[in-house]
């Protein structure tokens, strides 16, 4: 077993890089936080790493649109390297802003030459940024990151997290392939309802179609999700730990452990 090297990619405005690196370290990975300019200068740097993570934040201020500018930079300058990275069987994780970047750059779901991008993340139905905890259910076993996880309790903190697919055909295809891997679940009543059944606000905090909170690619090795697993790797991060709830390593650490284990 070797210790995998994790690349935490940061850009101007990235702000969850340190705690995300810490989560990977706790899971047994070795991390390096690199500015995108370093990668643009030296494309071969990717070769050093087995896992790439684009953490949360507001890359380039989310000016123009959340994650859009970094996504464009990647699409214009790093698409080849990331395609190789994927093809080499390596893992890519995008959290919150990182999910927005992966989706909008076409790395997570391929763009259709005619019809355009398969899906997007747009403004919450509430029209504003919100920080709240959500319950998540896992659909199937497609994603390497989510292996052995059935449900998680994690915080979201975003303004543009509503998942919208281009059309119903795309949605149906992703759903049946198990790529709509992570869904918002009702916090109270309806624990047994199907994943696709409607979950009202605030349990579905942004109005995502089919309650989608995270999406993986066809290989299961690329995952993007809006909630923040790195913010729940310790008991005292749970909002109700003083009521005796939560577990020692939170619900989030397992995702990082899965990635490290897979890459070891």
């Amino acid at each position: 077993m070797s210790t995998p090297n994790v690349l935490i990619l940061r850009a101007p405005g990235t702000n969850c890089d340190q705690e995300t690196a810490y989560a990977f370290e706790q899971a047994g990975g070795k991390t390096e936080i690199l500015h995108i300019n370093r990668l643009l200068e030296n494309l071969s740097l990717f070769g050093r790493f087995q896992i790439l993570c684009i953490p949360g934040g507001f890359s380039y201020g989310d000016d123009v649109g959340a994650g859009r500018i970094l996504a464009n930079q990647i699409a214009h300058h790093l698409a080849e390297q990331l395609t190789e990275f994927k093809a080499a069987g390596k893992l890519i994780l995008g959290i919150c802003n990182g999910f927005q970047v992966l989706l909008k750059s076409g790395i997570l779901l391929e763009n259709d030459a005619q019809a355009g991008p398969a899906a997007t993340l747009t403004w919450n139905d509430s029209g504003r940024f919100e920080d709240r905890w959500v319950k998540l259910g896992v659909d199937g076993a497609a994603s390497v990151f989510l292996a052995g996880i059935e449900s998680m309790y994690l915080p979201i903190a975003h303004a543009e997290g509503k998942f919208v697919a281009r059309d119903d055909a795309v949605l149906g295809r992703l759903g049946s392939a198990g790529q709509l891997a992570l869904r918002y679940r009702p916090l109270h009543d309806g624990a047994d309802q199907p994943l696709d059944a409607s979950v009202p606000f605030p349990d579905n905090p942004n109005g995502s179609v089919l309650n989608v909170a995270g999406v993986c690619d066809a290989s299961g090795r690329v995952l993007g999700l809006m909630p923040h697993p790195e913010r729940h790797i310790d008991r005292t991060q749970h909002p109700r730990w003083t009521r005796g709830e939560g577990s020692e390593h939170g619900d989030g650490l397992k995702m990082f452990q899965n990635a490290v284990k897979y890459s070891s």
């Binding site: 810490y22 500015h35 380039y60 201020g61 930079q73 504003r128 790195e230 005292t236 009521r243």
Partner: protein, 1011 residues
């Protein structure tokens, strides 16, 4: 060519901006169901063909899945095709020169396509339905745009080029001050927006007469900024002759002899155990945290800019205060933000607004989004705060923003050296924020908007985040000797302060500018945001420059610290200023002011004449009052968990929605040691007694920290005085009186002040009015406590039925300024006092009990007293509570009449167990709603009851009830004679004084600000 890109929601997607605009129009009574279609858009000035612009629009500017675009050159008919029902077209654009961060980013991102755009500007475009001209004007000015920073264009855009500034032609300006008479000096002070007093102007005149020359404009501006109230705190740090009922007291430096003196005494008393590191010296106060790190804390206000432009004012308020810890010592890493706001009630009728005043609802929304957008983008959790409402904040809202930072122990001091280069890092300099420092020293009038519009700025958080990223690396690599922020006064303050003990020479033409046309003076005094100044040894410059370049941060040598004791400014080689540092920093004539405090007699607060003994409605009224009501709408818009250190969140309890007393964060993600952040403020008490208002605010801030588990011997506090015009002796007197309370309380509790700031002249004079409206005395006390291990903290939500409830601290007849008095419109009464030695003892005992794990839940008793605290604990925990007022520890004394009646009744009915306060009518409301200080409600398991009682021995404490599974709050009153409403027959009984379902209570508490 000037291209326009309009971006609309695609068919079937919600038009969120349009819907919000229509809702706001309905809120302000302009129109019901107004049809609004909104687009966001970009103007792109570039030599491009339509295919290129189309590609940029599709792939960068718009989201193809949920948006559709219209792309055409400005003037093209395609851009002005109205949607169904639209009658008016309105464009809103940032005024030329106003910061437009999205446009800046878009311009850079366009470069990724291999395309160069000359200029980009954003806009919003609204298609409005049926509305008459007057209402359309109101819609534009009240909802769509703010005249301070935006321009409105009704109809198609009337230009086809974006202006980007014209070149500046140098001309040295001197001001013939030597020959001016007093009137001319006063005129110069006002018209030149120097806002200096006559004596100060005369001092400057005398100085230049002695030099035998006239000053240049930039010399005058530099002096005005350095001497401004904002930068020098000349009133409170000045000489004051103060008089109150104890006699007369003369201060040479009021702040130094009260606030600062308290800290000095505490430090001296602590001896070896002194844990203060740097107080009232640097940009923020510094105290010890653990073996490796110190923590720094600073709270600032940004009131006047927020009154004119709430979003930009609050945005740059939080952005500015974050730069304080970044500019403290060798630079601290910001770890959390705080914010406290004071507004007029948001339901103020729109037609009652004086001219020049923004509606309080709009102010509140703008301020909250301003803090949100900056704090969230910086990746700093906003964890603590409060919102207060009073009609007197209408024209002059208050916006307090705070930031806590973490700094390595050995990086806590800065040492600029002669010969160091003066290096500007970060944002470029523009015309924004000119005269901010002197402007905040002036009273607001309805003309302020036009007079001082330049003082309003928009921030760009990402620029500041980029500066922070490189600053931390540069600090750890030892690339500079000193750092400070460019705040009020711009380079003038930053370079002036850093070079105060050395001297400095600056070449103004080297400063990078946002656009052409700035004069040398504008460059020097601009308060453009996101700039830091470093003192860099010459041999480190190349490495620093390379580091900054590698992350796209602009760094420029603008001058040098030279050991001349002078401040010399040059523009392309021509000397434009030459001032002695000594005159600049020590030449200001002392301000001497009178202050008088006449303590008002305590008026009797008439009690309620209750026949039915039921106070449930009063409790609901208080829970639903704006100060008490849930602030979740504000809190949830802030990321309070970024950086991963959140241990006690601002909202707690079974549904994550109860009002926590203080937030706890772990600033080091690899450690369980925590910081506890809270505040205290009671503007309602200040009208009655500012001494006890200040004492109460300190008690509240400290007890909030203690309630979650903070060690009371390690709580540092900050003062922020916001007051009216202190030229009036009685207004200044009320402030001095509160500063005396600060000294007394801080010394007694052992809680040092480590930093502070004041904002005076918070008054608003409506057009045509003689009298200005002054804000109430508003002293914010911010507190930063520490816990050894966050896993020993407690929250305020009830945990399990069967547990016991204890009230710690005694209830007194202190209803003055209480929320009970406010919702019932009662006047007078004694404001809550503080028994400081007992408070210290109480805090110590309770801390020990919490730290030993004896307490399951703890909530401080503050606004609304015991009844509100019990209600909040119950609905936050989802468990009922039963409280017996007869068991509440108290120091209430019945009046003579009541004592006599009770004695008589006891004789006639010797078997009845009458409570000592049974026949004193106000007793029930006092026990329920009094806001006496130093009180807590604690939940304790039955097993731990004896240990808890032992821990609390020596302080007032009694078991007053229990946690239930009834889903109800029940409060049982005193056993007393009760008259039957119909028969008038009197019987001895024990009334239920509050009974309500938790759901009802929570709803009235959540509803008022659930926007």
């Amino acid at each position: 060519m000037l291209w326009e890109v309009d971006i609309y929601p695609a068919d079937g997607q919600p038009d969120l901006i349009g819907q919000q605009t229509a809702a706001d129009a309905a809120d302000l009574g302009l129109a019901e169901d107004l049809a609004v279609t909104a687009a966001r858009g970009y103007l792109v000035q570039a030599e491009l063909n339509s295919e290129q612009v189309g590609r940029i629009a599709a792939e960068l500017l718009a989201d193809a899945v949920v948006e559709r675009t219209v792309v055409a050159p400005v003037g093209d008919v395609a851009l002005i095709q109205p949607p169904a029902g639209a009658e008016h077209l309105v464009y809103v654009l940032p005024k030329p020169g106003v910061m437009d961060p999205v446009a800046m980013s878009a311009k850079q991102a366009i470069a990724d396509f291999g395309i160069e755009a000359d200029e980009v500007r954003t806009f919003k475009k609204y298609w409005i339905g049926n509305l008459d001209g007057k209402r359309l004007g109101a819609l534009c000015s009240r909802i769509l745009a703010n005249d301070a920073i935006e321009q409105v264009i009704v109809g198609p855009l009337p230009f086809d080029r974006l202006e980007v500034g014209s070149p500046y032609v140098f001309q040295l300006v001197t001001v013939p001050i030597r020959e001016m008479d007093d009137e001319a000096l006063s005129n110069l002070s006002v018209k030149g927006q120097l806002f200096l007093s006559r004596v100060e102007m005369q001092t400057i005149q005398a100085h230049f007469r002695s030099l035998d020359r006239d000053p240049t404009d930039v010399e005058l501006e530099t002096i005005a900024q350095t001497w401004s109230e904002h930068c020098s705190h000349k009133t409170l740090a000045g000489r004051i002759r103060y008089q109150d009922e104890h006699g007369e007291r003369h201060f040479k430096n009021m702040l130094k002899e009260t606030i600062f003196a308290a800290t000095m005494k505490i430090r001296a008393d602590a001896g070896d155990k002194d844990w203060c590191v740097s107080v009232f010296a640097d940009n923020a106060g510094v105290v010890r945290f653990d073996d490796d790190y110190n923590v720094v804390f600073k709270v600032e206000t940004h009131n006047h800019p927020s009154a004119l432009e709430p979003y930009g004012g609050a945005n740059t308020g939080i952005g500015g205060v974050i730069r304080d810890p970044m500019g403290t010592g060798m630079g601290a890493k910001p770890v959390c933000n705080t914010d406290v706001f004071c507004f007029a009630p948001p339901d103020t009728p729109a037609d009652e607004l004086p001219p020049g005043v923004l509606h309080p609802r709009r102010v509140m929304k703008g301020v909250v989004s301003g803090v949100r957008d900056y704090g969230n983008r910086m990746g700093i959790p906003t964890v603590s705060g409060a919102v207060y409402f009073d009609p007197r904040y209408l024209g002059n809202p208050l916006v307090y923003c705070g930031n806590v930072g973490l700094i390595p122990v050995d990086q806590s001091f800065k040492h600029p050296q002669p010969g160091d280069l003066a290096v500007a890092v970060g944002g470029r300099t523009g015309r924004d924020g000119i005269h901010g420092a002197t402007f905040s020293s002036a009273e607001l009038t309805s003309e302020s908007e036009t007079l001082s519009g330049g003082a309003v700025q928009i921030g760009n958080a990402i620029t500041e985040k980029m500066v922070l990223d490189v600053l931390m690396v540069a600090r750890d690599r030892g690339l500079y000797n000193a750092v400070t922020d460019c705040g009020a006064g711009g380079f003038s303050s930053a370079v002036g302060e850093m070079g105060e003990k050395i001297g400095a020479e600056v070449n103004l033409e080297t400063v990078p500018l946002k656009y052409d046309g700035l004069s040398y003076t504008e460059i020097w005094i601009s308060e453009a945001q996101e700039r830091m100044v470093l003192a860099v040894p010459e041999d480190k410059w190349d490495e620093l420059k390379a580091l900054c370049d590698s992350e796209g941060v602009e760094a420029t040598v603008i001058g040098r610290y030279v050991p001349t004791g002078r401040l010399v400014l040059k523009y392309h080689g021509t000397q434009v200023a030459d001032l002695s540092m000594e005159f600049l920093h020590d030449g200001r004539p002392p301000v001497v002011r009178d202050a008088v405090y006449a303590r008002r007699p305590v008026l009797k607060l008439s009690p309620l004449d209750k026949i039915d003994w039921d106070y449930t409605d009063e409790l609901k009224d208080i829970l639903g009052s704006l100060n008490v009501a849930s602030k979740h709408w504000v809190i949830r818009q802030y990321d309070h968990e970024v950086q991963g250190g959140s241990a006690i969140k601002p909202l707690v309890g079974a549904e994550n929605d109860g009002p926590g007393d203080a937030s706890v964060v772990r600033p080091r993600i690899d450690s369980r040691r925590g910081l506890v952040i809270a505040c205290g403020m009671n503007p309602c008490y200040g009208d009655l007694d500012t001494y006890w208002m200040a004492a109460s605010a300190i008690d509240e801030a400290v007890r909030n920290c203690v309630a979650v588990g903070a060690d009371p011997t390690k709580i540092a506090i900050l003062d922020n005085f916001c007051w009216g015009t202190t030229d009036r002796p009685e207004t200044l007197g009320s402030l001095v009186c509160s500063a005396l309370a600060c000294y007394d309380m801080a010394v007694e509790l052992g809680t040092p002040f480590i930093s502070g700031k004041d904002s005076l002249n918070n008054e608003f004079r409506p057009e045509g009015a003689d009298e200005a409206i002054s804000i109430p005395p508003s002293l914010l006390i911010s507190a930063m406590g520490q816990v050894e291990d966050v896993s020993r903290c407690v929250t305020m939500d009830l945990k399990a039925p069967g547990n016991l409830l204890y009230q710690v601290g005694a209830t007194r007849n202190e209803m003055g300024g209480s929320h009970f008095a406010q919702v019932l419109g009662l006047e007078g009464g004694q404001v809550p006092k503080v028994d400081a030695p007992l408070a210290k003892q109480t805090f110590a005992a309770l801390h020990k009990a919490i730290d030993s794990g004896l307490v399951r839940a703890c909530h401080d008793l503050s606004e609304g007293g015991l009844a509100v605290a019990a209600a909040e604990m119950a609905f936050a925990g989802g468990w009922g509570a039963r409280v017996m007022l007869a068991q509440v520890p108290h120091e209430i004394e019945a009046d003579e009449a009541a004592k006599q009646r009770r004695a008589e009744l006891s004789l006639s009915m010797p078997d009845e167990p009458l409570h000592p306060l049974a026949l004193y009518p106000p007793a029930t409301s006092i026990l329920l709603f009094s806001e006496s200080n130093t009180r807590f409600l604690c939940e304790v398991t039955q097993q731990n009851a004896a240990a808890f009682e032992a821990a609390m021995s020596g302080v007032p404490c009694a078991m007053i009830g229990e946690v239930t599974d009834t889903g109800k709050l029940e409060i049982i009153g005193l056993t007393q004679p009760i008259a039957d409403a119909e028969s008038n027959a009197v019987e001895i009984g024990t009334p239920v004084v509050v009974e309500a379902e938790l759901g009802e209570l929570k709803e009235v508490w959540q509803k008022p600000l659930d926007w």
